[in-house]
Structures are given as structure tokens and as C-alpha cells.
Amino acid sequence: MPADEMRVAHDWLDHDAGPVVRPYAMTQGRVAPTGGEFDMMAFVVATAADVQPAGRLQPEHHAIVATAREPIPVVELASSLDLSIGVVRVLLGDLRSAGLISMYEPPAAARSHDVDVLKAVVNGLRAL
């Protein structure tokens, strides 16, 4: 989908909408990421240190890549960049399609909730 086609005038952003740009305007109205959904706890890692100047990327895309140099969960990205989770997901879908990030789904609960992990959590909490 060419970006230009999506940058049509949003006539629903009228005076009544107020001065605030509604979150999904940032994604040209798209509400679901391309290539499928992912968990809010999935980790995101940028695959390259730099993003080549790509015409279709928005400042928010660049901000995500810059923030995901080290593995970071989707929720943490959303909070750091002050974007809603839904918007971050759509932008991550774009970056994943462009090969600029890798996504790592959380391991199945049965694996991450094993007793050794839980003991480590308890010990860590006691040390707080």
C-alpha cells in the first residue's frame, strides 16, 4: 500500500476533534499491524544500528528503532515513547515488514513460570 495513497485528507479531523491529533492518524488510520498481531510483552530488537533514510518512515518509526537497540518489550516502548500500544503495534508491523526489527514472542507461560524462575523472582523481591 503506497504511503501517499494513505495520506488522504482525514475529513473526520474537523474542528470538533479539537487540536489533538488522534492516535490512529499517525498510522494513516490503520488499526492492525501488517504481518499479524504480537503479544504486548513481546521483545523488540532493532536489526541494524542505523536506518537508511527511507521516505516512508515517520519520525515515530525512527524513534522506535533508536529505542530498541537493546531488547525491549512492546509495552515499554509504548510507555517510553508516549504512544498508545495500538499505535506502536502498527508501527512495529511496518518496521518488521521492512526487516528493521525482530520480534520475539514471550515463551509459553509453562516455561517462563517454572519453579526455578519463580524462586529467582522471590529472592529478587526479598532483596528490594
Partner: protein
């Protein structure tokens, strides 16, 4: 624990394990206070489409659909470099139930905050976690000394299943909140061991 990624250059870095704990309870039960007392609290926005979410190819936009912004409390506790605990204060209002399904997906467990002056406020949370099979503890937030009830009286009043821990605490005290989390994680571990033993 062993999710190691290999990138194109053959280098690898560990992907940490992030565990999710939900902090639920009625309005004013102390969710924000608890998340803030034990972790670095930050707001997290979710902007949700309330009706018929369209597919990825639909660029028709969200005009005409109802979106709602929900700001949740969100905090992180770093246990080790490879192990992080995330706390989510669940939105209390009924109309945000749809958010709970995703929040509780894969969650380690939940803390249901109870206020003895309005005990019924935590019934929906308890029902929800019982139905989902999400392990939870009930933490009675003691704002005032004269409002202290015995833990077993609360357990009876809430008709909890045997074994569900009830903890009395003060959400404003970091150690109080921490101890509730420890109680929850130990309870989850006991359940894991019990289910492993019965196999």
C-alpha cells in the same frame, strides 16, 4: 529462560524474560498506590477500537468507529538483567473488560486489592480470575487501623477457594506491597509444584 536470538551476523544476545503481574480491584482500592510504591510507575496508553476491528488491509480508517483511550498504571521491577517483572494496574471500569483478556494472557498471576469498607467492589475481579484460572491473592488494603478485619473473615466473606492467600497490608508502604508480591509468587510456585506432583 533460554530464548537466545541469533541475528544475521551470527552474534547473539539474550532476550530477557518478562513476567506480568496484574493489580486489580475496585476504584480507589489502592492500585496506583501499590504499583507506585514498589516500582517505578509510568503511564501506559492504550487506544482501543471498541467495534469491529478491521483487518490489516483496511485503510478505511477509524472514522465512525469508537475509540477509547485508557491510561493504565504500569511499573517495572528489575530482578536481574534477564528477568523483569511488570506490574499492570488494570482499568477498573466495567467498560474496559476487553482489555483484561489481553492483560491476563500469559500473566503470572494477579493481586486483587480489597477495601473492607467496599468489599463487594472486588467481586468482579475475583470472578474474572477464577474463570480464567489466573492465580491470585487477595490483598486487603488497611487504610485505617480500625478497619482491620481478620484475614480469614475476609476469605469467608469473599467465598474464596481454599488455599487462596489473603494478606493484610498497607499499599503505601513499599515493603507491604513487596510482601504481597512475594506471597503471590510463592502461591504460584506452590500451585506449580502441586500440579507437577499430581501428574
Amino acid at each position: 529462560m533460554d530464548s537466545v536470538r541469533s541475528d544475521r551476523n551470527g552474534a547473539s544476545s539474550r532476550i530477557p524474560v518478562a513476567l506480568k503481574i496484574l493489580i486489580a480491584g475496585g476504584f480507589g482500592a489502592g492500585k496506583t498506590t501499590m504499583v507506585g510504591s514498589v516500582s517505578e510507575i509510568r503511564p501506559l496508553q492504550t487506544e482501543e477500537i471498541l467495534t469491529g476491528v478491521a483487518g490489516a488491509d483496511d485503510v478505511g480508517g477509524v472514522e465512525g468507529k469508537t475509540t477509547t483511550t485508557v491510561t493504565m498504571d504500569f511499573g517495572r521491577i528489575t530482578i536481574t538483567e534477564d528477568l523483569q517483572l511488570y506490574l499492570f494496574g488494570t482499568p477498573g471500569q466495567d467498560r474496559f473488560w476487553f482489555l483484561w483478556d489481553e492483560l491476563s494472557q500469559g500473566a503470572l498471576g494477579a493481586v486483587v486489592l480489597a477495601d473492607t469498607r467496599r468489599l463487594a467492589d472486588c467481586f468482579p475481579s475475583i470472578d474474572y480470575f477464577e474463570q480464567r484460572g489466573t492465580p491470585f491473592v487477595v490483598a486487603v488494603n488497611c487504610f485505617e487501623a480500625d478497619n482491620r478485619f481478620a484475614a480469614d473473615a475476609v476469605a469467608r466473606a469473599l467465598d474464596l477457594d481454599p488455599g487462596v492467600p489473603v494478606v493484610l497490608f498497607d499499599a503505601r508502604e513499599p515493603l507491604g506491597a513487596r510482601n504481597v508480591l512475594i506471597e503471590l509468587v510463592e502461591y504460584v510456585a506452590r500451585r506449580q509444584l502441586a500440579s507437577a506432583g499430581s501428574r
